[in-house]
Structures are given as structure tokens and as C-alpha cells.
Symmetry: C2
Subunit: 224 residues, 2 copies
């Protein structure tokens, strides 16, 4: 009787941990740096994510069931129970809010605003440049299109040359972009980690390089 | 004696309203749509801003005193006492947080995350396309450079053709982008308001057009 009651309690606990806790799902690509931003942050926060790896080449991004979650046909998408969220930077902030004690988005209005400032600065500047290079140097050639358009590559390079020195100066006297570690470091780190693949040399940015080495030294960096 | 005391009180009140309230400053351009996003939201919220109009042609964006506030040499920049903030979308959210009762950024985690989602979606997609067109069709010709590069214009047009239909579908059954009015409507509205100047026709997007007319009907829209 006692044993049965215990077992029952244990079974109920196990069931409720599966159904009520509802592990969040991350719809993710195989090689996506945007998905990796989220996986790295989840590892830092110790948050469990069930990863659903979509294959671009198999048309998974354009499957009706996926487009119903994310009409852009892009990854990543986060599913938290009945709540669906896309855009990697929005997902980073949403996950950080699950562990407010870690303050990877600071709680005060000014700190939170500076996280937004650097994320939007990144999205509109450096990331736009990196995305243009990704498309011209890797995606278009992969899809059998010519790519490597000189005007677009020059435009992308101009964005990097204009904005990377500002990040380098910001990191001169800081361990992380805002001083303490925040979600901003994950957004930027996952992308700059593979900059050399896009023929973007970081040699002239000594402070960015030193910061990137600090990010790469995180115990989960290689596997996330 | 009574009159003197009253005057003294009145004088002290007047002084403290000037020095302690510290009106926020907005460093802004003459024709900037990013500055206008902030001015429109401030008008909606009834927040007073002291506008400092910088002139691009006079080199104001590159003046050392301004670069010390915003190393990007871009506008707008907000100054709130000793706190300096750039990137228009970060500024929109920071101002909305001054009037939490208006909920132009919702207080709940999911609503706040959806504001982020749509702002980052806008920044990386449609806004990138509009910025590329602005540079090619207006800024480069204005500066005496050829501009109007066919590859870049095609890239920009592809971004608009991919992402504007998603906004149009989102607005089909909603009064504003998230349903209720949020900062997202100001970010998008200030830019789509002048899309025709960049030869971006919105005729095929009926729901975007209807929403834009709702924004344009705000009493402060023309003057902000």
C-alpha cells in the first residue's frame, strides 16, 4: 500500500514534469548562426530546449505547418506552450527573462535600453553587412546562382568598415559589450565566430578578438 | 511678508520645474524618418522633448561633440539627464517605459516579446530594403555619386516583396500591428508614410494602406 502510493506519486510527478513543465521547442537550421545564438544562450542559462532541426534543402522552411508558425519561412522559431516567437534577438531577450536573477537583460530601464540599443545597432549595421556577404558568397553560389555581386559586396564591406571599429572601441575597456555579460554578447558572438568563413578578417580589431576569445572559452561554446 | 513668502515659493517651484524635471533632448535631423519615429511617439505620449536639429550638410553629424554622444554619427540620439541612448527603436521603447499606464510596450513577457519580434523583423527586413533604396535613390545622387545601382535596388526590392506581404496579412484582422497600438506602429508608420518618395508603391497592400491611414489620422501626425 505504502509502496503503491509512493509509486503513484512518483509517476504523477514524472508525468507532470513532462506535461506541465512543457520543454520549449526551438525550430532551428543545421548551420544557422541565428539558431546558434539561441542555443548558446540557453546553454549559458541552463535552459532546456527541444531542438527541431529543419533542413532548408528538403523544403522544411516552406512546409505549410512551419509557415503557420513563422510566416517568414526563416529560423529560428521558439515555441513555449501555445506561445510562438520568432526573430533570434527577441528570443534571446525572452529566454533571459526566464532567469531574471542572471540579469542577462538588466532589470533597470537604462540597462535594458542599452541592450536594445546594441541589438538594434547590430541588426541594422554589422549584421546587415554579414547577411549580404552570406547571401553573395555562400547561399547564392550554393543554389547555383552567380552571386558575388561586386556592388553588394562593396555595400556590405562599407557597413562592416563603418561599424566594427565602434564595437572595437566599446570593447577596449570592457570585458563584454555592456561591461557585464548580456544577451548582446550572444547575438554578436555567434556571428563573429564564423566571420572568417565569409572572408571578413578581424585582425585589425584587437578588442573584438580578445572578447571573442572570452566567448569561445565558455565551456558550452563548441557544442551548442 | 505673506506676499514675499508666496513669491519665494513660486520662484523656487519655477526653478525646480526647469532644473529637476530636466526635459529630455532629442538630437535629430531635418528630414530623418528615424527622428520622426521618436517625435511621433513623444506626441502620442505627451512627452516633452527639446529638439536639437542637426544639419547633415553642415557636418553636424561628424562634429566631435556629437560623436562623443553617438560614435556612429547618426541620428537620433536621446539625452535624458546624464543618460545617452541611440538607435530609434531603443529610444521608442525607453520613452514608452516612461508612461507604463499607456502600455505602448505591453507589461507582460509575451506582449513585450512580440514588440521585440516585430521591431527586429522590421529592422532586418523591410527597413533594410528601405534604407538601401534611400541611399541609392536619394542620398548618393544628392551627394553627387552615381547611386541607382541595379543590383542593390534589386536586392532591396526582393526584401520588400518578401516581407511586406507578411505585414499586410498581419494587419488583415487587426487595427494595429499587435492588435492594440504599440511602439511598433510608430517605427513602421514613420517610414511607410514616405514610401512613395522612394518609388515603393503600397497599392497592392490594402491592409497596410488602411492601417497607415489610421496612423495618419492621429491629430499630431502632420506636425510631429
Amino acid at each position: 500500500m505504502y509502496a503503491a502510493a509512493s509509486l503513484d506519486t512518483w509517476t504523477r510527478r514524472r508525468l507532470s514534469s513532462k506535461t506541465l513543465r512543457m520543454v520549449m521547442k526551438l525550430y532551428d537550421g543545421r548551420m544557422s548562426w541565428n539558431g546558434r545564438k539561441v542555443r548558446l544562450l540557453a546553454a549559458e542559462l541552463g535552459l532546456e530546449l527541444e531542438r527541431v532541426a529543419l533542413d532548408f534543402r528538403q523544403g522544411d522552411y516552406r512546409a505549410p505547418a512551419y509557415l503557420a508558425k513563422n510566416p517568414n519561412g526563416k529560423i529560428p522559431t521558439l515555441e513555449d506552450g501555445d506561445f510562438v516567437l520568432w526573430e533570434s534577438h527577441a528570443i534571446l531577450k525572452y529566454l533571459a527573462a526566464k532567469k531574471p536573477e542572471r540579469a542577462l537583460v538588466p532589470a533597470d530601464a537604462r540597462g535594458a535600453a542599452l541592450v536594445d540599443q546594441w541589438l538594434f545597432w547590430w541588426t541594422s549595421g554589422v549584421e546587415t553587412g554579414l547577411n549580404l556577404l552570406l547571401v553573395e558568397r555562400m547561399i547564392k553560389p550554393f543554389l547555383g546562382k552567380p552571386g558575388r555581386d561586386a556592388s553588394i559586396i562593396a555595400e556590405a564591406q562599407a557597413l562592416l568598415d563603418r561599424f566594427l571599429p565602434i564595437l572595437d572601441a566599446q570593447l577596449e575597456a570592457r570585458e563584454y559589450v555592456l561591461g557585464d555579460l548580456t544577451v548582446v554578447d550572444f547575438a554578436m558572438g555567434a556571428q563573429l565566430d564564423v566571420a572568417s568563413m565569409l572572408e571578413v578578417p578581424l585582425e585589425r580589431y584587437a578588442h573584438i578578438q580578445a572578447w571573442l576569445e572570452r566567448m569561445r572559452a565558455k565551456p558550452y561554446w563548441k557544442d551548442a
